[in-house]
């Protein structure tokens, strides 16, 4: 439990106690408790909760040995850490209802949770869906549900919560003391970081700094991998038979295509390092709070921004996180707009092209692309909330923990946990896609093996859809990349790596990709416009197939899944068209 916020954490403690399972309470953040000049009477608290309570400072490993010893002793001696003496006593009327429900359970469903009848009765009275479902499957369960129907209601849940909080207040009054007027560093920083006017500019500066750091500091590692892959490619091709299929597969397919994506692994890890740092420091929840003010004005719930922040990593868990949003309108809106938030899979594409066209300011360009994503998400949210899902946004309640200095160890662990997902994806989805693309590149339209690239099946697929993108002037490599990018956006990079591996003598893959992007030759001054348009398309069109699956799972609606998939493509097409048009006037 967070010792600095006992009131909220005790609620969970009460629920656990009601569950009548062995419980050991660990009060963490005792260092912050000291800083805030809070006094907690641990012994008295242990008495009142009728369970052991151990104070800890987990980050400094203080109190961890005591916790381990206590658990070990309890297991060795086969003793429960709790007794059943602790009970939340509710009002007379509710207690009578609980008693009646227990009686019903004993008579009609004696086999239903005999050890935890009081807990089961409370849940039945609260009309807890899971418990009612479970009860209806056992013998006599339906009779119990029918018999207690008159005094069970969903509103009782609020009454029970209220009474639990009353009991919590009583306990806190007995064990908790805080010196008045204590100002912590968190209070001081919040005056600036949550400032009415400075809050959003500070958030934008931090975002910009994040991308500058991510791009520039990962550059040496990306260079190192590129140099390594080039050397590996040269060594491998010199040892293997020339023109053999396996040489092409290893050198072009694996090293050229798959390696092009692997080269960007440090970039992804660096982004996750900064995101983990911001999260561990406590700033990320502040960002959601700051943005809530702006989002509330457009009728969107502040929690939507929390989901959006998750989208910086991957849009799929971000869509899943929308389950926590209670209002159906807000939930659907957040699910539908989350795809505009640029996920880490798009980052290699930005870096490939951005590094070649805007080498001195790739970080700034990436910041702009991310900002466009956020602005489009806000614009679409406005559209959905004002036109389709009308209604007021409910107030946003968010717990702002204290600022903490992130530790190298835990920030590293969080970075690794997120980055590991990218490696897993690269190891399975991306690798398989690259193998398929390599096969398509080596099979001719007429069925021949290793044809000229222009006559390969891959080129055939690219050229099939290319006319649709004729107004945008993108080559078949670019359009084929977008098609396979539906599986995972990183594949766009692999597409260029695979096709251009022989064409990049003396220049980097980025420069070769930029040169291969236009379908017809264009003026040098127009290249940045074309590239920017392509990157905006990559940003806005449907993230990937797993995202479509997640949207379907979370909305349960084919209609909204189709809306999500199609409006992204529409916007993705519209924006580059506008960029080309406006850019064409000036360049």
């Amino acid at each position: 439990m967070d010792a600095t916020n006992l009131e909220r954490n005790f609620y969970l403690a009460f629920l656990l106690k009601e569950l009548e399972v062995p419980v050991l309470f660990i009060l963490n953040f005792m260092d912050v408790v000291k800083t805030k000049k809070i006094e907690i009477n641990i012994d008295r608290l242990s008495e009142l909760l009728d369970a052991p309570v151990i104070p800890t400072i987990a980050i400094k490993k203080k109190g961890i040995t005591e916790v381990k010893d206590l658990i070990k002793n309890a297991m060795d001696e086969q003793t429960l850490i709790i007794t059943k003496e602790f009970k939340v006593i509710y009002s007379k009327e509710i207690e009578e209802n609980i008693k009646q429900t227990i009686k019903q359970l004993k008579i009609n469903s004696p086999s239903f949770l005999p050890e935890k009848r009081r807990w089961a009765a409370i849940k039945i009275l609260e009309r807890d869906k899971e418990v009612l479902k479970e009860l209806s499957t056992v013998n006599g369960g339906k009779t119990v549900i029918e018999n207690v129907k008159e005094f069970a209601s969903e509103s009782l849940e609020f009454e029970l919560a209220k009474q639990r909080y009353n009991k919590i207040s009583e306990i806190i009054h007995k064990i908790y003391k805080q010196e008045k007027g204590v100002l912590t560093i968190s209070d001081i920083l919040d005056q600036v970081f949550l400032h009415k006017y400075f809050g959003i500019p500070i958030f934008l500066i931090i975002m910009w700094a994040m991308f500058e750091f991510t791009f520039r500091v990962s550059a040496p590692l990306v260079s190192l991998i590129e140099v390594g892959l080039d050397t590996l490619g040269n060594i491998t091709s010199s040892y293997l038979a020339e023109n053999a299929w396996y040489t092409s597969f290893i050198v072009d397919g694996i090293i050229g295509g798959f390696g092009a994506i692997l080269g960007f692994v440090p970039l992804i890890f660096m982004l996750f390092l900064v995101l983990s740092f911001l999260e561990d420091s406590g700033y990320l929840s502040r960002a959601a709070f700051v943005m809530d003010r702006a989002m509330n004005k457009i009728g969107l719930h502040g929690r939507s921004f929390v989901s959006m922040i998750l989208g910086f990593g991957c849009n799929v868990p971000a869509v899943m996180s929308c389950r926590a949003i209670e209002s159906e309108e807000d939930r659907l809106t957040t699910i539908l707009v989350n795809q505009n938030i640029s996920c880490s899979a798009r980052l290699p594409v930005y870096m490939l092209f951005g590094g070649a066209v805007w080498s001195g300011m790739t970080g700034t360009i990436i910041f702009f692309l991310y900002s466009i994503g956020i602005l489009v998400a806000i614009g679409m949210a406005l559209f959905f909330r004002k036109i389709i899902f009308k209604g007021e946004a409910p107030p946003f309640v968010l717990e702002l923990g204290d600022y903490r200095m992130p530790t190298f160890k835990y920030t590293g662990i969080h970075m690794w946990e997120r980055g590991r997902e990218f490696i897993k994806k690269a190891g399975w989805i991306i690798f398989t896609t690259v193998v398929v693309m390599w096969l398509l590149l080596n099979i001719g339209i007429d069925g021949s093996w290793a044809p000229d690239i222009e006559h390969s099946l891959l080129a055939g697929i690219g050229k099939l859809v290319q006319p649709l993108f004729a107004p945008l002037n993108w080559s078949w490599i670019a359009t084929a990349g977008l098609i396979f990018g539906f599986l995972a956006k990183e594949v766009v990079v692999a597409m260029f790596g695979l096709v251009l591996i022989g064409a990049e003598e003396g220049i980097g893959l980025g420069e070769a990709a930029v040169a291969a992007l236009p379908a017809t030759s264009i003026a040098t001054s127009s290249v940045p416009i074309l590239v920017f348009g392509y990157l905006v398309f990559v940003l806005l069109y449907t993230p990937c197939v797993p995202h479509i699956g997640a949207v379907y799972k979370e909305t349960g609606s084919k209609k909204w899944t189709l809306v999500s998939a199609s409006y992204g493509i529409f916007l993705g097409y519209l924006f580059p068209l506008a960029i080309n048009f406006i850019g064409g006037i000036y360049f």
């Binding site: 520039r216 500091v217 040496p220 260079s223 360009i365 910041f367």
Partner: protein, 189 residues
């Protein structure tokens, strides 16, 4: 908070100095849009590492850096006003602005080292990278001689000489200020 009260006067002066620095840098960033050549020559002299992307700074880069400095300057200005009034909020702004400036300062330091490592790695396989860097250094020396030589150039008007020297002085120190911005705040705090 007694410490704050005692140091209020010196802290408010510090806040004002950093505020002026930040606004000065913000203004310089905007002026620099049209004066890329001068920037390159002087920045190279002081802080560049091989391959430093400062060579390729552009319009947007300057605009963003300018806005960042305006916000930091604004925060310190609020800090200055608050400290003069003796409010705790002023102290908050000083700390908050300091942390933000420290973060941005660390960003530049990390980028500086990353560029050095990157060029070293690229230089292993491509010696042309080093040659390019040496060319820039020669260019720097030429530019510096050009501006310093102005003093002895009898063909130039006196006002032009002063202007050139002023520009040289400002830009020679420009990144020094930026680089030490966070150090000043950190040490003072």
């Amino acid at each position: 908070m007694e410490i704050v009260k005692n140091k209020r006067s010196s802290l408010s002066i510090l806040a004002l100095i950093v505020c002026i620095f930040s606004f000065f840098i913000a203004a310089m960033e905007l002026i620099l849009i049209g004066m890329e050549t001068v920037l390159e020559s002087n920045v190279l002299l002081f802080f560049t590492s091989p391959g430093d992307p400062i060579f390729e700074t552009t319009f947007l880069d300057h605009v963003i850096k300018s806005l960042v400095n305006i916000v930091i300057g604004g925060i310190f200005f609020m800090g200055f006003l608050g400290l003069r009034k003796g409010t705790l909020k002023g102290f908050s702004f000083l700390i908050g602005g300091g942390i933000l400036a420290l973060g941005i300062g660390l960003l530049f330091v990390s980028i500086w080292f990353a560029n050095l490592i990157d060029t070293t790695i690229l230089g292993i396989t491509n010696p042309g990278v080093w040659k390019e860097f040496c060319n820039y250094k020669r260019y720097t020396v030429r530019m510096v001689s050009h501006y310093c030589g102005n003093l002895h150039n009898h063909h130039l008007e006196k006002s032009r000489k002063i202007f050139n020297c002023l520009i040289f002085f400002i830009f020679s120190n420009f990144y020094f200020f930026k680089f030490t911005n966070f150090l000043i705040i950190n040490t003072a705090n």
